[in-house]
Amino acid sequence: MKVTNYIKIEFPSRSANEALSRNVAACFAAQLDPTLEELGDIKTAVSEAVTNSIVHAYPNDVGRICMKCRLFEDRSIEISIRDWGKGIADVEKAMEPLFTTGDDDRSGMGFSIMESFMDHLKVKSQENKGTTVTMKKKIERKNLS
């Protein structure tokens, strides 16, 4: 399908950039005139994915994170978050609710929230190579009568 607009951003894996990246995604999504709820869902899903790269992919150093947002003709948005960090050995297991390799600051609910707030979620990962999370959401047209 035709891409009508895109934005690529790159930033270091510092926790201060969690807010920055979800706000950029929200600014990008704003061109579709989403509801506050849709905007909140996108911000939350991005926050989860970016936090994972910061916390799990680069636990001991500062690495590079890339986010790509693409807008399609059918009013769907695709957002991918990529890191070149630790990777995930067993993706299926990692995606189970409550599963976490983190301490008790993590809830193990990150992937579940991405799944329930977006229409589509794909996780590609290779150990010691990195992880790419790709999410899609269609923004409904308002004021249909």
Binding site: S15, A16, E18, A19, R22, L36, E37, G40, D41, K43, T44, S47, E48, T51, I54, V55, P97, D104, D105, R106, S107, M109, G110, S112, I113, S116, F117
Partner: protein, 105 residues
């Protein structure tokens, strides 16, 4: 993220303001633990009225606070939850195990 507390008649009310993400959660948890350990309250109320954004880091914070209050044999509840945090609470399923109310205890 701004954290304010109020202690009265054994009840500690803690107000969270701003964005509760991973960046803010560590500091928020430290403040919250400090307030609980100082007052050893009979009940603790987490007021989210001014919380603009929350992700799953907030879930972990709520679960840890609930655990701490259970250790103290006190009560714990979350009040005034705005729409976005409410959706996160519902999606995570903890609305079923944590006392979430419209107003205080």
């Amino acid at each position: 993220m701004v954290i304010n507390g109020e202690f009265k008649n054994g009840k500690l009310t803690v107000f969270l303001k701003g964005d509760l993400d991973h960046h803010a959660a560590r500091e928020a948890m430290r403040e919250l633990t400090l307030k609980i350990d100082t007052h050893l309250p009979r009940s603790c109320v987490l007021d989210l009225k001014n919380l603009r954004f929350m992700d799953s880091s907030g879930i972990a914070l709520i679960l840890k606070t609930d655990k701490r209050m259970k250790e103290l044999e006190g009560k714990f509840c979350v009040v005034n939850v705005p729409p976005q945090p409410k959706r996160v609470l519902n999606a995570s399923g903890i609305s079923r195990i944590i006392d979430i109310r419209e107003a205080g205890i």
